[in-house]
Amino acid sequence: MTKTASTSFGRLRTAGVALFATAALAAAPAAAEYPERDIQMIIPFGAGGGSDTLARTIAEVIAELDLLPVNILPENRPGGSGAVGYSTVAKETADPYFIATVSVSFFTTPLLGGSPVSYRDFTPLASIAQSPYIMVAPAAAGYETLDDLKTAGRLTTGTVGVVSDAALLAKLTSNALGVQIDAIPFDGEGEVLAALLGGHVNVGYMNPSEAMSQIQAGTLRPLAISSAERSPAFPDVPTFLELGHDQIVHTQLRGLVMPAGVPAEVVTYWEGILQQVATSDAWKTKYIDRFHDIPDFTDAAGFAEAIATTNARYETLMKELGIIE
């Protein structure tokens, strides 16, 4: 009796599984064969800039390693400090065929009230590298170490735009060293570099690729790096952390997002792809070695957390600067 019951139950279960399997089969194409058509990669900035190079290199590496059954089509949608491109992606809610890379403007433009969408309107996928900032001073200024800056009564630094990573790091360094550091907004990385080399500002927070050639030429001297650990590209530059300033850890995450509400399977799918990109030789030679970023893979959950933290940092900075309430 019990046996029969259990058998019939078992049969029923088998039937149920079969039924479920049929249902799953019917639904399967959506999940299993996820990318059915080409994926649009929206670049919210003009061609030739850092974001453009990053996005196109990722697309190139994915194509080279043949990780996707479809193509990635990069498309520049500049305007409104990133607002135009990011809105284009965000409004395609739950559509897993739109993808974009994050940038500083991804956070700052919405906070400044310049964009209808914010980081909450996106699904983080994963990040595949970290770009630290290197704090530098002109060699002629005579500052050898971070502590030497304490002797200065007041310092100035250059930033691109009012709210930037350089402005954020200047605030953090200022608090840590007890020295006033005023950030002067310029219109581009090149202008900041010119001001630094001309001695019109005292310190700078540079991207690795810009800092590298100047450090090699001996025109700028590195004082500290903003990553948690030393960068392989700059093995001799100490981190702020090592120097006893544990509150100064801030890097730019090179990662990808999709519109809010894409299914969890899609996120897992992309985590897999991006992990392969991050660990590939092609990515190393085409990006890491060229731009001197730190290789690092962070999964969707970690990346989401980093996005929220970064946004909070910018928000705090803007409140401190009195830009927003």
Binding site: G46, A47, G48, G49, D52, T53, R56, R77, P78, G79, G80, S81, A83, V84, S87, T109, L112, G113, G114, S115, P116, R154, T156, G161, V162, V163, D182, I184, P185, F186, D187, G188, E189, G190, E191, L193, A194, A195, L197, G198, G199, H200, V201, S209, E210, M212, S213, Q214, Q216, A217, T219, R290, F291, M318, L321, I323
Partner: protein
């Protein structure tokens, strides 16, 4: 002379067929993009970047360079023929070039723009190869304080462009300054006059405004006149360039090249400001300043020489220091990175062959553009034989396309049309358009640098006279402003500023 030998080696290296093809491709694309209203060198270089990167190495950068100086040649074409600036650095070419075309001297004006571009190009290349190291150090000496003084000096020279009514000129300048404040406040981070629109967040692009204010205004005003009106006296001679004009304008060519070069070197200033300054200097130093703006070759020579030599000047910080001083050179720097080179102070030392070959390609490209554009001149000039009823609808379509292509935004097209409508109003009320553009170009530069200086000095105004370069420039500004007044009271000749008309 050693540099000339190196440059010659570079030219030989750049004559390699593959590199030559890429140089010419870049130059032709640049010519077309420059001629297309709205799209300028920055957009052109950016558009070509992914394609050029595929050529690799020298060919890639030779191609991108070709787009850059090619667009400086091309910008003059629509400026002269239609009164529509092909790109921002050719705005000043409209002032004398368009009246020349209307007088039936389109070929002469186009020819002059080619000679001007060529002379500016040659002198710019020589400056780039011979004195880039000292010049780049000179550029670094210009911080926010010096830039502020430089802008004041430029504005004092430019007051000559105000038109015959000084008050109306200043009103137009003030409107330009005001329009320059639209968008995100670059120093404090708040938004100004955006009325909550995302499209105005980045401010007003002056090339968009210039296309509307000059080009569409010219087209709109023709609605008042009969389209059957004969446009110009057609003669074969009017289509041909005149070589004697180059001799006639030799001083303006030399002056424009030198001014363009040094302004081009300064980070963040740009070729447009250089053309305005060189035009103003040409007019100020002329025995007959009133003739400027009526359609004379000298008025085409100065800005065309300036914009080409400025393009080479702006490459100096890029190649010798690794600093992209303008939006266009920033894109070119992206190109250098993409072909695996690290732009920086060591580029010359580590990759001399590369750098000299690229410079060699500039010389070849510049020469090739002269023959190409001179050969095209009669064909282009005959565009004026087309009835305006046919020509203008086509032109409007091209303008709309060109402006839309800047960032694929319909709001840019709307802005151009609004600027065109405002231009008609200004024209009817006899307010000059040039000071408005001037304000829009120089206003943001002046504002930003004053505010940067004030942050740097913590509000102390004495920095402006403590720094020697700034002090000299301020003294020069005062001299420029006071000399006409002094002359006036001494009963000598009247000064151009009050009399001349643009």
């Amino acid at each position: 002379m050693e540099v000339l030998a190196l440059l010659w080696n570079g030219i030989v290296a750049a004559s390699d067929p593959a590199i030559l093809m890429c140089t010419l491709l870049g130059a032709v694309v640049g010519l077309l993009i420059g001629a297309l209203p709205g799209l300028g060198p920055t957009a052109g270089v950016a558009i070509m970047l992914p394609i050029a990167a595929g050529f690799g190495g020298i060919a890639a950068i030779a191609c991108l360079g070709g787009v850059y100086y090619g667009s400086m040649f091309g910008g003059a074409i629509t400026s002269i023929l239609l009164g529509i600036p092909g790109d921002a650095p050719s705005v000043m070419t409209v002032v004398d070039g368009y009246p020349m075309a209307q007088k039936g001297e389109a070929g002469r004006a186009l020819g002059m723009s080619v000679f001007g571009s060529f002379v500016g190009g040659v002198l710019g290349i020589l400056g780039l190869v011979a004195i880039s190291v000292p010049v780049s150090q000179f550029a670094l000496a210009f911080g926010p304080t010096e830039m502020t003084a430089m802008m004041c000096f430029a504005l004092s020279l430019l007051s000559v462009l105000g038109g015959r009514n000084a008050i109306k000129g200043f009103v137009a300048l003030a409107i330009g300054f005001w329009l320059g404040t639209v968008g995100l406040d670059p120093i404090a981070g708040s938004t100004r006059y955006t009325f909550g629109s995302v499209d105005l967040f980045d401010g007003l692009d002056f090339s968009i405004i210039a296309v509307g204010l000059f080009g569409l205004t010219a087209i709109f005003t023709t609605l008042e006149v009969s389209v059957d009106k004969p446009l110009a006296r057609y003669s074969f001679r009017s289509l041909m360039p005149r070589f004697s004009d180059a001799i006639l304008s030799r001083w303006q060519l030399a002056q424009g090249s030198v001014v363009g070069f040094f302004i081009g070197v300064l980070p963040g200033v740009g070729a447009t400001a250089a053309t305005m300054l060189s035009y103003a200097i040409a007019k100020r130093t002329s025995r007959n300043p009133d003739a400027y703006g009526t359609g004379i070759v000298q008025g085409v020579a100065a800005p065309e020489a300036a914009n080409n030599s400025a393009s080479y000047g702006s490459m100096i910080p890029l190649f010798s220091l690794g600093i992209p001083g303008s939006a266009t050179t920033a894109v070119m720097m992206g190109g250098l990175l993409m072909v695996g080179l690290q732009p920086g102070p060591l580029l010359f030392a580590t990759n001399p062959d590369f750098v000299w070959s690229v410079f060699g390609s500039f010389a070849i490209g510049n020469l090739a553009l002269v023959f190409l554009t001179l050969a095209l001149t009669p064909l282009l000039a005959s565009a004026l034989f087309v009835s305006t009823a046919l020509l203008y609808p086509i032109v409007i379509a091209i303008v709309v396309f060109g402006v839309y292509a800047i960032d694929y935004s319909l709001s840019s097209v709307m802005l151009t049309i609004i600027a065109g409508a405002i231009g008609v109003v200004l024209l009817k009320l006899d307010y000059p358009a040039v000071p408005l553009i001037l304000g829009l170009v120089l206003g943001p530069l002046l504002e930003r640098n004053i505010r940067r200086t004030m942050i740097s000095s913590q509000g102390d105004l004495s920095v402006f006279i403590e720094r020697p370069i700034a002090l000299v420039l301020f003294i020069a500004t005062i001299v420029v402003l006071l000399v006409p007044v002094a002359l006036h009271f001494l009963g000598k000749r009247k000064i151009a500023a009050d009399e001349a008309e643009i």
